[in-house]
Each structure stands twice: as structure tokens, then as C-alpha cells.
């Protein structure tokens, strides 16, 4: 009776095969863990720097980390975090306010940048979203996001508005993506909720 006909052979074979293949996977995971962690961090760091105008879309990852470590400091108050971008001589230049909430398909996470006056918007950037490509997914395009710089955050219930086509956009409003009502409504809601809590937490700072 050859070894392959022994009753325990399939069991031993399965164990051996599983051990070998998992071993390789575990090894590869461990090898790339640092890189993956760094990539995750860079997503947030890039969003903060783009929103505050300190980096461009195509700035490479290493450069993002370098600028971030050099010029950005997180500040926390009442459990709310903001990211303060300093000028090279140490003055406050802009602030990245993170926001997140449920989009149409999946969680949306992003950063809204405001000037040192805490009112004028410098930009917006997203580091996680899974909206319909071509529709809600358009929120990540430069074209859509370019509506934000220069807008002013209002005090009150709705600091920033995202309006349907046809409505005139005022000083604190941008135009929604056509055909992506759900994404726009949800994005407006999460932006306003997180902006309000941020305004409340940091009231009186740098005004």
C-alpha cells in the first residue's frame, strides 16, 4: 500500500498544504506591513495637506509625510481633533477639520480646510469613499472640489450647503453633483454635523 492510499494521508496532506501556503502569506504580510500602515496614514495626511492647500494632488507619498511631520500638528479639544498647519516660521496658516459619515454606499471620510480665521474655506479632500463612479464618485474630482476654496462657513444650523442644480449658490454653498442626490444630501449632512461640533469645541480660538 503506497503512502497516498493510507487513510490518514488526505488529512496530513491538507495540513501540510495549508501550512505551506499560509506560511508564505503570513511572511509576505509581515514584510509589507510597514508599507501598508504608511499608506493608510498617507491617505489622511494627503487629504489634510490638499484641503489646507499645502500639497497638490500628485505630490508623492514621501513628500506628503515630510511636509506633514514638519508643519502639521494635531490639536484636541473635547474629543474633537483638528489639524493645524503652520507656516515655515511657525504661525498658524490653516486648519484641517476631519469629517465622516455614511454615504450612499459606504462610509465617506474627508477633510475640510479652513483659513486661520476659521471661516474661509481653503479646500476639501476625501480619503475614503465608495460612491457610484461617475455619479457620487465625482465628489473626489478636482473640478467639483474646486468650488470650495473661498467659501465662508456660516454660524448656525447649516455652516455649508450643497445645493441642487438651478439654485443660486451663495457665499456658503456649492452646487451638488448632477444625478447624485443621495451622495450630496448625505455629504451635506455629515459636513454640517461635524462642522457644528467642531465650531462648538473650538469656539473663541483665534477669532
Amino acid at each position: 500500500m503506497s503512502i497516498t492510499e493510507k487513510p490518514w494521508y488526505p488529512l496530513a496532506y491538507m495540513f501540510a498544504v495549508t501550512a505551506v501556503f499560509s506560511g508564505v502569506l503570513i511572511g509576505f504580510s509581515a514584510l509589507t506591513q510597514d508599507r501598508v500602515d504608511r499608506n493608510e496614514q498617507i491617505f489622511l495626511q494627503r487629504a489634510i495637506l490638499i484641503a489646507t492647500g499645502a500639497a497638490a494632488e500628485n505630490t508623492p507619498g514621501e513628500e506628503i509625510s515630510r511636509i506633514f511631520n514638519e508643519r502639521v500638528e494635531p490639536a484636541e479639544k473635547d474629543g474633537i481633533v483638528e489639524y493645524r498647519l503652520k507656516t515655515l516660521d511657525g504661525r498658524l496658516q490653516a486648519i484641517g477639520v476631519p469629517f465622516e459619515g455614511q454615504g450612499y454606499w459606504d462610509q465617506i471620510r474627508g477633510v475640510l480646510g479652513v483659513n486661520a480665521d476659521r471661516k474661509t474655506v481653503t479646500g476639501i479632500a476625501f480619503y475614503q469613499q465608495n460612491e457610484t463612479p461617475g455619479l457620487g464618485g465625482e465628489i473626489v474630482t478636482q473640478q467639483w472640489r474646486s468650488q470650495f476654496p473661498g467659501k465662508t462657513i456660516a454660524v448656525g444650523d447649516q455652516p455649508l450647503r450643497i445645493l441642487q442644480a438651478g439654485q443660486t449658490v451663495g457665499d456658503n454653498a456649492v452646487q451638488a453633483v448632477t444625478g447624485a442626490t443621495q451622495t450630496s444630501v448625505r455629504l451635506e449632512r455629515m459636513l454640517n454635523e461635524d462642522l457644528r461640533t467642531w465650531q462648538t469645541a473650538f469656539t473663541g480660538e483665534g477669532q
Binding site: 497516498t4 494521508y9 496532506y13 501598508v36 499608506n39 475614503q128 457610484t132 463612479p133 461617475g134 455619479l135
Partner: protein
Amino acid sequence: MNGSSQSTSSASLMMRGLWYENAIVRQVLGICSTLAVTNRVLNTVVMCAALVVTTALSSWTVSLMRRATPRSIRMMVETLIIAFYVILFDRFLRAYWPDMSRQLGPYVGLIITNCIILGRIEAFANSNPPLPSLVDGVANGLGYTLVLLIVATVREAMGMGTFMGLALPLFSGPLWDRWILLVMPPGAFFTLALVIWGFRSIGMMRREET
């Protein structure tokens, strides 16, 4: 099927995978991902690359191990091998191409359940030597790629007016009203159905000629 004499020459394997026995058009296998990832050409290309690599390497590995693997547990071993390559690819994207990894989301992982891979392993790699199995995997992966690229090009061009993210002259102009439906999931059904219809009609014409 015309070309399905059991020849294992590389050329014949390629023709079968790409055309005569095209997994999507002929066997309507693996269409879940056809529907999911085809609204952007670039995403489709990466997804197809993943599928070609996984199908080819899984077939090759299964074939290498085919004499040692007991028949009673062969499915478990096959699934394990497929999962191994898919996870490897997914991890590779996360480490070296994080933006793409974000965009494809869970779909790379779902390659594990792509019927084409297990189908080729069961139908071919199980009973053929490693090298033809590798070729067979590549051929079927490319057959899948061919159909997906057509679907993705149609959807992205007519739905978004772009190709690989670059604006196309006619479709991004004011004369073209973008077909938003094509970008949404139902758009894939319509496009795929038309592509299968077209391919099969051509195939039928060929058969009548011979």
C-alpha cells in the same frame, strides 16, 4: 464547438480560451465581476490583470500538485490555492498601489469566487501537465479580459465621456448627453447582453461558412 479537439498546443489553447470557448460569451461564467468592475476602463484592466495572473498561477500550481492531491479533498486544496494567489495580489496592491486598492475595494478579494478559475482548474488543470495548464489559464483570463474591456469601454465612453479618465472628443462634448444609466449597475447588464449577442452572431456566421 469547432476548435475543441483535445489538442493541447499553445496556439489551440489560446484560440479556445479567447474565442471558441470564451468563458463569458460561450459559458456565461464569471459575469458577477463583469457587472461590478466595468464602469471604468482602468479598474477593469487591473481587475483583469489580477484574474489572468490568478487563473494562470492557480492552474499551474494545481497541475503541479495533481498527482499528490487525493481526489476526495481536491476541491479544498484548489480553493486554498486560488485564495492564496488572490490574497497575495490584494496585499501587493495595498502595499504598492494603494489608490487602486481603494478603488477596487472588495472586488479583488472576490476573485476567489470567480467561477472561471475553479472552472478551468476542474476542467483542465486537474488532468493536464503544468505548462499547458498555465497557458490555458492565461488564455481564459485573456478571453475574460477581451469581453470586459469591450463592456468597460462602452460604459465609460457613453456614460462618462472618457476613456481611462481622458476626455473623448465626441462623448464629452455638448452634443452627447451622458447615459448615466450605463454607469450604474444595470448598464452592465445591457452592455454585456449586447456583447454576448454580437459575439455569438459572429460565431454563428463563421460556422455556416465552413
